[in-house]
Symmetry: C2
Subunit: 250 residues, 2 copies
Amino acid sequence: MSGGWLAIVGLGPGAARMLTPEVTEAIGQASDVIGYIPYVARVSPRAGLTLHASDNRVEIDRADHALRLAAAGGRVVVVSSGDPGVFAMAAAVFEALEAGPDHWRDLDIRVLPGITAMLAASAAAGAPLGHDFCAINLSDNLKPWDVIERRLALAAAADFAIAFYNPRSRARPDGLDRAFAVLRETCDDERPVLFARAVTTPDQSLRIVPLPQARGEMADMRTMVIIGSSRTRLIDRAAGPLLYTPRSIS
Amino acid sequence: MSGGWLAIVGLGPGAARMLTPEVTEAIGQASDVIGYIPYVARVSPRAGLTLHASDNRVEIDRADHALRLAAAGGRVVVVSSGDPGVFAMAAAVFEALEAGPDHWRDLDIRVLPGITAMLAASAAAGAPLGHDFCAINLSDNLKPWDVIERRLALAAAADFAIAFYNPRSRARPDGLDRAFAVLRETCDDERPVLFARAVTTPDQSLRIVPLPQARGEMADMRTMVIIGSSRTRLIDRAAGPLLYTPRSIS
C-alpha cells in the first residue's frame, strides 16, 4: 500500500501559540497520531483521525507501531512535547527503524522540530543560555549514574550553562540533589539555578536560587532546571529578575 | 509615554512554516522591527511599521536603540534568526538594559523563542542531538581561542554530541579546522560530522563525513556543524542517510 508517511513532530512546551505551522499542518493531514498520553491529549479529535495514546517507557513499542502503520499506508504523526529530537521520540523511531525490516528504510520520514523545553524556560527567565551551554538528561533509565556525574563535572569545568532535562525521575528521586552536590564541588556560591515549572502554561512558575540553596524537591516532573555559567547575571526588576548570560566572556 | 513594549523574537531557521504563531502576532502588532539586515528582510513591510535594519557586530547599539524606542512608547520587535536566546539578540538586549538607565527596568519585555539552527539541522538529518549534547559558538569575536579549545576538549571528554554555531568567522577562517584538530586528538575515526547548510530554505544541503575527512572549507556562514558522540549512528537509505544518537548509552 502506497502513500504512507511518518512525521515525528514537536508540540512545543505547552502553549498552542508556540506550535509551528508545519506541525499543525502535519497533524491536520494525519490518519493516526501516536504518543505518550498527555501529549496525544493535546491533539483535537476529528473524524478520520485515530489517536493512539500509550504510557511512558514504551517508546520502542510506540515507534514500531508508528513504522508499521506508515508502512501499511497510514499518514502517521508521532508527537513529542518540546522538540522530538531532544531526549524524545525521534531517536526511538530511528532505533526501531534500524532494527526493523529493510523496507522501512524506503518510508517517507520527516522530523519536524519544535520549541524545546530549555529554550522556552530560558526565554521565560531572560537568556541564561546566551553563551555556550549543554543539555543533560538526568534520567538514568538509559544511562548509568557515573556517566551523568562525569559529564556534570566536565560541563562545570568547561563553564557551560547547563540545562537538565528530566531532573526528577521517579526511579531515582535523589538524582537532582546528587547533581547539585557534584556542581557545588567546583561552582561558586553565587551560581544561579533556575527552576522553570510548566513553562508557557497557566501553571507557569519561575524560581531562581543560588546553587547552595538549590534542592531537588524544588523540581518535579514538569520542571526544567538551568544552572548558569560563571558569567551568568541577574538583573533586579520590580516585575521579577532577568537571568542572562552575556555573549562575551571578557 | 506609556504602552510601549519590547519583544525579542526568533524567526526560526528560514522557512515561514517554522515561525511560531506568537512571533507572527508580535510582528503584526509592532510599530518598529529592529535587527540584522538579512533578518529584517524576512519581515513584510506594511503601513505603520518602521523597519530598522543594521549591519552585523553592532548588537549593543541595536539593543540600545530598541530599548529607547520602547521606552518612548514604541511597540518594538527585535528579530533574530533561529532562537533569540542562543548566541543572538536577547543577551545583547539584557547587557544594554543592565548598563542603561534605571527606568528601562520597568519596560514590558518578552523573549519569544524560535526554532534554533541546531534543532532544524538535527531534524533535517535525523536526530544527532537525541542524547546529551552541547552548543559552542566558534566565533572568537567575543572570547579568546584558548577558551574555545579548552571547551572542545572537555566536551569531547564528556562524549557530548557538539553543535557549532558560527563555524566560519571571517576574522578567523582557520578556526573550524583548528576545532576539528582538537577533536581528532580524542575522537575515533568513525565519528560523523554533519554540515547542514541553509537548512529549511530552497538552498538546503546536507553532507556527512567522518571526522578525519572534515575540512573547514566544507562550511560557510550559513552552515551549522554537528559532531556526533561516540554513540551516534548512520542508517543507510536510498533517500539519503539518517544520522541519530540513541537514547541509551548501553
